[in-house]
Symmetry: C2
Subunit: 80 residues, 2 copies
């Protein structure tokens, strides 16, 4: 079973890396970009066969390791 | 206009960071994870009003800066 966990910064949390990308895009001549925020994505392959078990595993992984829930949101998608 | 660019490693490219996450999940007692591959996600706000122009800007950004097309794939989604 395949799944994707997307981790993004919460609104209001400063993102210096995103700001740097904005600046770099401007320097490279890519115009029309108002703002950039960077996040992480984890493509996970699971042994679990059923959806409920897969979601429980992914939630544990996200809470324990993949996301810092103080400053980050995470979203779980089971692709199938 | 909002958009998301997702950058992932091409198949066959080694992902030591993903391997490290796999190991860490095992140590933390999260079982049932067969493999992990890490990628990046960019949430981009655009000035452009029309879809075609937005997609052209995003393609330029991805090709020039966000993705290393030798080892990475990118996917553009205009969220609206």
């Amino acid at each position: 079973m395949k799944a994707r966990v997307t981790v993004t910064l919460k609104t209001g949390v400063l993102d210096p890396q995103g700001k740097a990308i904005e600046g770099a895009l401007k320097s490279l001549g890519v115009s029309g970009v108002a703002s950039v925020r960077q996040g992480k994505v984890f493509d996970i392959e699971l042994d679990a066969g059923d959806q409920a078990k897969a979601e429980a595993t992914l939630k544990a992984a996200a809470e324990k390791l993949l996301a810092n829930t103080v400053i980050e949101n995470y979203r779980i998608e089971v692709v199938g």
